[in-house]
Symmetry: C2
Subunit: 238 residues, 2 copies
Amino acid sequence: METEKFSHHISRRFNEELEHVRSEVLRMGGMVQQHLDVAIQAIVAADSELGLRIAAEDHRVNRMEVAIDEECTRILATRSPTAADLRLVIAVIKTITDLERIGDEAQKIATLASRLTVDAHADDEHRQVQVMAGQVQEMLRNALDAFSRVDAGDALAVVEADRLVDEQYDMIARRCITLMMEDPRSIQRFLDVTWVARALERIGDHAKNISEYVIYLVHGKDIRHVGIDAVREKIGLV
Amino acid sequence: METEKFSHHISRRFNEELEHVRSEVLRMGGMVQQHLDVAIQAIVAADSELGLRIAAEDHRVNRMEVAIDEECTRILATRSPTAADLRLVIAVIKTITDLERIGDEAQKIATLASRLTVDAHADDEHRQVQVMAGQVQEMLRNALDAFSRVDAGDALAVVEADRLVDEQYDMIARRCITLMMEDPRSIQRFLDVTWVARALERIGDHAKNISEYVIYLVHGKDIRHVGIDAVREKIGLV
């Protein structure tokens, strides 16, 4: 763990607080990852119980968001952090919002997936959604790894991967429209497939957001709304 | 303007900084409102130029988000705000994220709307979307008013209004599926209508988020993930 950057404090207590907030984010991230895994299992296995399982657990994610948010506010009020410490606290406040929303999307996926799997197992769209699910799972894992290791290069790779996920989504959505037109009885099903793909696409966006906060954390530069090449230049990767 | 709460500072300069950040948020809000108005005009008027107009302006919204964010970070670093001042800065950091996303959704709506209006003017779904657009417009206006006047009661009314918008969305989405099944040639069109309604529903969510930050700003209580009645109780409205 590269935590030295946040460790030059006179107050050992302050160090511990920052370290605690970081590890809580990773714990929350682990929980959300698990929910995404379960949601994807629901796509693959046609198990309608899985959605209920995530729904029952979602309040724990919400509670963590509120708790970490409060801890950050307390640190800001009592420690008046500056420089890298301040950036860490701000990055955490933003990251947990995205993690919470990933949890919501996972729940949505699980609910939809259990409905659509009855007769959808074998077809091509279903396989494409599974491919997309794997891509998104990896993006989230890498985003959390980049946060954990405070690694801007890895974070940038996640930002770049988001384009592939967007392309995959566009392809699935277009194919679904064609299939609905070919067989109107399949409309509800391919709408559901489209919604699942859409939720996965949004999770990709959130993983990208988290990675952007990591880059901000390391370089103190705001890279939102900037093209990839400009980012590479800004953080000195060209 | 109820700004006394933020005005008990020895440093007049600090007051001015907080006041500036507040007014910048309202300016950004006004810009986003305008984009939403144009997007809704695109639904009503079938004008494909309108989408392009928002797209051309969207970078200004993005630039404002980054600038306000940087100003907040600077205030946190140099002024070490506490209590209500700290809550204001945190609320601002969160609010601008939601405003920026409302801008994105408005752009999406304008692009879709210009495509769908060619032969869709007279039908019932189109009218229902317009009703929903009006509701969402009002939610955003009221959320920004509540932020401007720091009024938790008005903010709570926005949170409550979101339920109606969600219901309207569900109704439109269900109707669209039925219509697609009745006439497969209309699939693309009613999908577009669904996507527009979906984007409006998300704007409603963002307006609700902003209102929740206002309540947090006033009462210092985190009301996310809490039912309306519990919120009323928490902020002393029962």
